[in-house]
Amino acid sequence: MNEFLTLMKSELLMTLLIFLLLFVKLGKGVKNETLLPLIQVLLLLNLIAGFFFNKTGNLFGDMYFTTPLMAFQKSLLNLAAYLISLLCSGWLKKTKHLPEFFMLMFSAMLGMFLLISSGNLLMFYLSLELATIPVAAMANFDLERKTSSEAAMKMILSSAFSSGILLFGISLLYGATGTIHFSQMAGLLDNSPLQILAFVFLFTAFAFKLSIVPFHLWTADVYEGSPIAATSFLSVISKGAIAFVFISTLYRVFGAMQDTWYIMLVILSIITMVIGNLFAIRQQNIKRFLAFSSIAQVGFILVGISEGGAAGLASVVYFVLIYIFSNLAAFGVASVISDHCGKENINDYKGLYKTNPFLSWMMALALFSLAGIPPTAGFFGKFFLLTAGGAKAEYWYITVAALNMIVSLYYYLRVVRAIFMDKNEQPIEKIGISPTVKMAFILCGTAIVCIGLFGKLYDYILSLI
């Protein structure tokens, strides 16, 4: 019993939070202003609790298992959830259904936690559904806007489609190996054609969720239509969780098929980086812009994943940690501005520096980190991904990835230029930032500047593996 409590700590805490919110909803008249700080505090406590009593162990006959690395990955997702609750508090306070929003968010996160820890295909499929469906409801949260419903519809259809493909893959895999347990399956894989076919189906389902090109078409529309809190959840927490699961599935279960998936990853990562970058250049809406930039970032993550060992795993976890801070800071600025005056176009940002220097610097810092320019942490993240990906000594592959960094710098600079250099008769007026939001920004900014200089963190992640 005691083991059950400690091993499933993250999931149990999430469930507890969901039930707490349910009770709050039952009671009448709790205002958003009082509820939101409470949720923020609870999330912070949840985040801190994630760092204690982390052990390795199995539960429910191998259905569920966890390691300290998985606990760390879950803590990263908790951290992102905490930051979102702070950064988007302007929008959250105004929304009519605050408890529901967080209930959906926590349910999705519960699904992700179970997904990360899943030990067999059944658990895997169930938790993946749990991690997806609530997000579609979150995308629909701007009830007055048609685009929000459209986003939710697109999201639900595309995830239903990818679930179908996943189930296909799962059934083939079961047929080929005769087991649904990951631990047994790993030893039974021998690159037979049926297994490769099953793997391709499974891979495709992941590619949908991670929006790897050419399975990315839903991403931009969903990002644009959803409220920013949901968009940042999608782009950071969803992406991060799926990336963790993807890498651990590839390494743990399909380790024997490395030759197959290495080629797939190389090809797909190049296409993803190139298409993501090229499409980002022309975007006008900041959310669509960040959507394509996050597609390109996923391409980079794939470079790291292709390594196939501890260095790849560590560099991906490290990159996701940095990506959480950088991307959330960018979305946070977009959220504050959109919340204040509804403007989401990059052209509206012209002359922002004159009126809002703090927000401008935050945005610039976040974008430079996404572009991988030192001294920001993004530089370290990208360098380590490339170091991992280059271990096979395929120099042309690294060269393509490095050249993509130039393209990405081009469009990130487009936003920086609008903010700092372009003139505008009517810039966005001065926006008062509440202390909580400011604190979250400062947290992100400090992390972006300092993570890279604090080298022990990478070694810590490596030691967890």
Binding site: G390, Y395, A402, I406, R417, F420, M421
Partner: protein
């Protein structure tokens, strides 16, 4: 000496600038920081020569080594040799001059000085790092300040120039990144310069990686045909920005070509030396002739920089000890000279609000100090004996002539001939600006240099004269370190 001082002082300055309250505080903090940095640099020089004269013959002095990412073999490994000491002094001189000439910046003073300090921090870090990752980190740190300095405080087509500069330098960085990773994997996971230089990598690997690193650093130092960011970037940048770009940032590339590409991959350097020579001769001649056609003072200096930097690349390509010493001298000399040139152009522009040579004339009457400095720096640029330019270029030519093959001789002669062209455009520009009748009535009321401008000019002039009149000390500083590099190369010649 603890080399952490060199990055500690700018770091503290940058933080102090951020925390300061008004414009006056910002300027004085930045100036104090730059002065302190100059003091540290000069102290470094004296301590370095003291160690050397005490008989310390280790290639690299004042080493220190701290762990950062131990699992990836990334260490904070610092150390200096004569080359780095010379470059650090150059950076310190240009740094304080840059802080002085920007005294009257009104627009966002705090941000301006912060970025300026950050830019010099990158240069100091770059010159003292002995770990490729750390070196690359410091090289890249300057991308943001350069971009913002040009884009916000610049003039003319500043957004275009800032974008072009950032993207081209990023392109160079991408090649360097691949080269560094190539070295890392080829050497069995080492980023350490000293370790790598003692490893004899297979010649085929060296020939594969050398072009990546050399071209990558070459973009920074205006290697033909990747020099196109130089004219636009320099002419659009604010005065201090141009000074830092041409005086310091371009030297990062030259230093990298030598320290990283040539030192670590000598077989590659030997294999590609012909191509380097051809490209640098083209740059020298093309730069000189292109300058003849320019009418804007900043463009004149920017294109002449392409030509002058060509000499230092020529010296590297020639691969003799004298030529490499000359190449390094040219880097220092050109850094000082071009910084002073841009400073003077900035002073003139601040007063006349034009940079077109044709619209000026007779400035000597109103601003004798500025015009005199302009003359001296012009003469330095065309290589008048007694000034630093002559010493450096002469050393390059003598070193080049040591190669007796016909191609090297022809290249040397062609390069030397460019000096005539230099004389034409320099004398024309300086003469038309300072001499002759005053073309514009409104110029008659203009004033001469203020104290800060005078101080900046005098500091740089002193350095130029110190090299021009007594070049021995610089030669003694650079030659042993150049010899260490040549030892590696001569094994493959």
């Amino acid at each position: 000496m603890n080399l952490l001082w060199l990055i500690g002082v700018p770091l503290v300055t940058a933080l102090a600038v951020l925390l300061s309250r008004n414009r006056d505080q910002v300027r004085w903090i930045a100036l104090t920081g730059a002065a302190a940095q100059l003091g540290v640099a000069i102290m470094l020089y004296f301590l370095y020569t003291k160690e050397r004269s005490a008989g310390n013959t280790a290639a690299i002095l004042f080493q220190q080594d701290h762990e950062i990412f131990s699992s990836l073999h990334i260490r904070f490994h610092l150390g200096v040799d004569g080359i780095s000491v010379a470059m650090i002094m150059l950076t310190a001189f240009v740094g304080i001059a840059g802080a002085l000439v920007s005294w009257n910046i009104e627009k966002m003073t705090k941000e301006f000085y912060f970025l300026l300090v950050l830019l010099s921090l990158g240069a100091y870090g770059f010159f003292i790092s002995l770990n490729l990752f750390v070196l690359f980190f410091f090289l890249e740190i300057s991308v943001i300040p350069k971009y913002l300095l040009i884009g916000i405080w610049g003039s003319g087509r500043k957004e275009y120039s800032a974008n072009k500069l950032a993207l081209m330098l990023m392109g160079g960085s991408a090649l360097i990144l691949v080269g560094i990773l190539g070295l890392y994997f080829a050497s069995g996971n080492s980023f350490d310069l000293v370790e790598l230089s003692n490893m004899n990598l297979p010649a085929a690997t060296q020939k594969l990686i050398f072009p990546l690193l050399f071209i990558g650093f070459g973009v920074f130092t205006a290697l033909f045909p990747l020099h196109t960011w130089v004219p636009d970037g320099h002419s659009s940048a604010p005065t201090a920005g141009s000074m830092f770009l041409a005086g310091i940032s371009m030297k990062l590339g030259g230093y990298g070509c030598l320290r990283v590409a040539t030192w670590l991959l000598p077989a590659g350097a030997v294999a590609y030396s012909n191509i380097i020579i051809v490209l640098s001769v083209i740059a020298i001649l093309y730069g000189a002739f292109a300058t003849m056609m320019q009418k804007d003072l900043k463009y004149i200096n920017a294109y002449s920089s392409v030509s002058h930097v060509g000499f230092s690349l020529l010296g590297i390509g020639m691969l003799t000890q004298t030529a490499i010493t000359g190449s390094l001298m040219q880097m220092v000399s050109h850094g000082l000279m071009t910084a002073l040139f841009f400073a003077v152009i900035g002073m003139i522009y601040d007063r006349t609000h034009t940079r077109m040579v044709g619209e000026m004339g007779g400035l000597m009457k109103m601003m004798p100090f500025i015009s005199t400095v302009f003359f001296i720096v012009g003469l330095c640029s065309l290589g008048l004996p007694g000034l630093s330019g002559f010493v450096a270029e002469m050393t390059v030519f003598v070193g080049s002539w040591e190669n007796d093959h016909m191609i090297y001789r022809i290249a040397t002669i062609l390069a030397a001939m460019s000096i005539v062209v230099t004389a034409v455009y320099i004398l024309r520009a300086v003469g038309q600006t300072a001499m002759g009748p005053v073309k514009n009535e409104s110029f008659l009321t203009l004033t001469d240099a203020r104290w800060n401008e005078k101080l900046a000019a005098i500091l740089l002039l002193l350095a130029i004269l110190a090299i021009g009149l007594v070049p021995g000390w610089l030669n003694d500083l650079l030659r042993p370190s150049a010899e260490a590099i040549m030892q590696k190369v001569s094994a493959f010649k």
